[in-house]
């Protein structure tokens, strides 16, 4: 039977040299910007150059804006680093949102309940331990069930998000001020008990430094440690790993505990470091955005700095656009969507080669 053939022939490529793959990515971003510009002009009549300039201004327009951008970058990057080992192991952990939130909840609990019982330094250490433990527990449970009974980790981690959200909602009612408001507000605003210290006179510097250290640690851990190697092997093939004498179950549980604990640490940085509160939306979807950051960077912590920077700058610029041009916030979401579409799309052209068929008959 003569099968009808499509016009294009798609084949998997050999690994491209780095400059070629980067050229494709650069090309994709460029195309994305052109499409954004056209869409902007057609829909709003604004000059696209002004829009891009405003995005840039929104992210880096003043020293304060730059600090906030880097703080946002640090938080997103930190959560992305946390989910990366699990993804490298091909463990579909989409529970970062809940793991961070439970870290926030543990921190808030320490700050509210122990503020007048412990000296500040001890309180921070207790908060740290609680946040790490809570996050680790949220990572451990799905991993343990996966390792023991082969449960579906995607569903399990997703469900754990809801449990964390509901727990946070419950305790917000317990701690709300005033009654019925449904808000905790800034915790210990007067005493600043349990607040992480301000480093170098800059509110957000500590978070940035911690995540910088974390990035280097994660890079070394994944690429140069025995654990990192085991993770990579388990990710490639669990059978091969077993054959090579790697205890797969142990690697899964250990890696997820690490993932969860790092998420818990990010929760501590959010609640004790910058926001000083607990809301059900404090993580703000960054647990899910982190999945994209991690995948777009192919699990490379250094590349992740750039992918998360891109997303953060677009997000920060978005709100600047909406206030400067009087456009709805949704417009910048459209721009972000276009840019992501092209970036993710470009990965296809890096992995596969597309060629035009010269003649269907000849190649059959």
């Amino acid at each position: 039977m003569n099968k009808k053939q499509s016009l294009f022939h798609i084949a998997k490529r050999d690994t491209l040299p780095w400059y070629k793959s980067f050229a494709i990515r650069g090309c994709a971003i460029l195309l994305a910007l052109v499409v954004c510009a056209v869409v902007t002009m057609l829909l709003t009549g604004e000059n696209p150059v002004n829009i891009f300039a405003t995005i840039f201004k929104g992210a880096f327009g003043s020293a304060r804006k730059s600090w906030v951008t880097f703080q946002n970058l640090a938080v997103l990057l930190g959560i992305s680093l946390a989910v990366t080992p699990a993804f490298k192991m091909r463990f579909w952990n989409i529970g970062a949102e809940g793991q961070v939130l439970i870290g926030c909840l543990a921190t808030a609990a320490c700050m509210i309940c122990l503020a007048d019982k412990l000296p500040n330094a001890v309180l921070i250490l207790v908060s740290l331990a609680a946040a790490l433990a809570a996050g680790a527990l949220w990572g451990f449970l799905p991993a343990f069930f996966k390792a023991k009974w082969n449960t579906n980790e995607t569903l399990f981690t997703l469900m754990m998000n809801y449990i964390a959200t509901q727990l946070a909602a419950f305790f917000i009612i317990v701690w709300e001020v005033p009654k019925g408001a449904g808000k905790i507000g800034i915790i210990n605003q007067g005493t600043e008990a349990g607040w992480l210290p301000v480093v170098g006179g800059q509110k957000y510097l500590l978070v940035i430094l911690v995540v910088a250290v974390l990035t280097v640690f994660m890079y070394i851990y994944l690429n140069y440690s025995k654990h990192g190697y085991e993770i990579a092997v388990v990710g490639e093939s669990q059978r091969t790993a077993s054959y090579a004498g790697i205890k797969v179950e142990r690697v899964i549980v250990r890696t997820m505990v690490l993932s969860g604990a790092v998420c818990g640490l990010m929760g501590l940085l959010l609640t004790a470091g910058t926001d000083h509160t607990l809301t059900t939306t404090i993580v703000g979807g960054r647990g899910f955005t982190a999945v994209m950051v991690s995948w777009m960077a192919k699990f490379n912590p250094i590349i992740m700095i750039f992918t998360s920077l891109l997303l953060v700058v677009l997000g920060r610029g978005a709100s600047e656009i909406s206030s400067t041009f009087g456009l709805n916030q949704s417009f910048s979401d459209i721009l972000t969507g276009i840019i992501l579409f092209f970036i993710i799309g470009s990965e296809f052209f890096i992995t596969y080669q597309v060629s035009l068929r010269k003649s269907g008959k000849k190649e059959a």
């Binding site: 460029l30 906030v68 419950f170 917000i172 709300e176 019925g180 808000k183 605003q189 709100s319 206030s323």
Partner: protein
């Protein structure tokens, strides 16, 4: 094929390079322009900043946005509105950015913004920070941090009078008996602001229709169209013949229009969507406060720590009565009661008009100074009535009076 690809790539790289070069030079000229502009602006002009929780798609925020534009245009001052600012650290960041930008006075519109506004107020002592619906200004002791609210309970009371008139009309027509005069109320949270609102609405109705009772249900959200719609439908199924609400979506009004049940609305007229059931709506007009605070800041005068707008300041307003749905003579009745409220011969929370657990109140301590233990700290009964919004601008009436039946409670989350 390979050649073609190589060509394409090299072309794109050249384009990318040239494009980068192009935008760079653009950026620098842009920066130069703004730099030369900036000092001139700040030297001559007074600038106002606004922080809004959502954008104009929320009726709550739209009400603030319209007032902000109206006040600033009337006073001829430059202003900047930032929308979609969540109730977290972003609020502080935005407030600080506005202060950096040269704003002399900054307003925020949502309850959860309060602590972050206080944080910013401490850092920028020369900038005025005004927060609507907050509770902490009178205890915080900062000279540049202020709260504002309005005696919306008076507006709700007047809307309640319109509701009572409608119930009387239904009784007179034989549509319901006196015992069946039951209203329904969809509230957001079991929070003082909401409790004060539905109680004053109920008392307004009771002042003209003594047999009225009311069921209240809570959605646990300030904006949840589905929950508000379901809440209204539940109340209608329970035999409520008139519905009002304190939440920000069109859920309850549209449910009423579908079911053909009269509705007393909030935040502005819903007549366009509900021509047959909309009776009247009360709302807070924030423009008088914005004008007051901005003018005071421009003249270097002190702004009240707590400012309560009233019927007299034009802060509490009612829409026109929809004659299709309302009883005859509603507007006249509202005007008469309004005059009594304004000259002080009538009080909304007059203790002789309601009972708590069968007893008339002679003393009641309210939680006016916000603290984590909700300690009742201030005697609120003055001259035989509960003095709402006097000791601070935000409402603090949170008593469960007889005649109102809470189907559920929702304290937040």
């Amino acid at each position: 094929m390979k050649k073609f690809l190589a060509l394409l790539l090299s072309l794109s790289m050249v384009l990318a390079l040239s494009a980068c070069g192009g935008t760079k030079s653009d950026d620098t000229t842009k920066a130069d322009e703004t730099k030369t502009d900036a000092p001139a602006e700040t030297a001559t002009d007074f600038k106002v900043g606004f922080i809004m929780l959502h954008d104009e798609n929320s009726t709550y925020d739209l009400n603030f946005i319209n007032a902000a534009k109206e006040a600033c245009e009337k006073l001829g001052v430059e202003y900047k509105i930032i929308t979609n600012v969540p109730e977290g650290q972003e609020c502080y960041d935005k407030a600080a950015e506005l202060a950096d930008d040269g704003c002399n006075i900054i307003f925020a519109d949502s309850f959860g913004h309060e602590d972050y506004m206080i944080q910013a107020a401490k850092e920028f002592p020369n900038v005025q920070f005004c927060h609507s619906t907050g509770t902490k200004a009178h205890t915080e002791g900062l000279s540049n941090y202020h709260n504002a609210f309005a005696s919306i309970y008076e507006g709700r009371y007047l809307a309640g009078v319109a509701a009572g008139m409608k119930l009387n009309d239904m009784i007179a027509n034989g549509y319901i008996t006196e015992d069946q005069a039951k209203m329904g109320y969809v509230g957001a949270f079991t929070y003082a602001e909401v409790i004060s609102g539905y109680t004053s609405f109920y008392l307004g109705a009771k002042s003209v229709c003594p047999s009225v009772t009311m069921d209240v249900t809570f959605t646990g959200s300030w904006y949840d169209e589905t929950a508000e719609k379901e809440g209204a439908n539940k109340l209608i199924a329970n035999g409520c013949v008139l519905i009002s609400q304190h939440a920000d979506s069109m859920g309850a009004p549209t449910a009423c229009e579908t079911a053909g049940v009269p509705n007393v609305s909030y935040n502005g007229s819903t007549q366009a969507a509900c021509p047959n059931t909309f009776i009247v709506s009360s709302r807070i007009d924030w423009a008088p406060y914005y004008e007051y605070a901005i003018t005071a800041a421009m003249n270097g005068e002190a702004i009240d720590a707590d400012w309560t707008g009233t019927l007299a300041t034009g802060s509490v307003v009612l829409t026109d009565v929809n004659t299709t749905a309302a009883a005859e003579g509603t507007q006249e009745a509202i005007d008469a009661v309004k005059a009594e409220l304004e000259n002080g011969t009538r009080h909304v929370f007059d203790c002789s008009t309601f009972t708590v657990k069968g007893e008339t109140l002679t003393s009641s301590k309210a939680d006016v100074d916000t603290d984590p233990n909700y300690t009742p700290d201030t005697e609120a009964i003055v001259d035989g009535y509960f003095a709402e919004s006097t000791f601070r601008s935000a409402p603090y009436f949170d008593l469960q009076i007889d005649g109102i039946n809470l189907l559920d409670t929702n304290f937040g989350g």
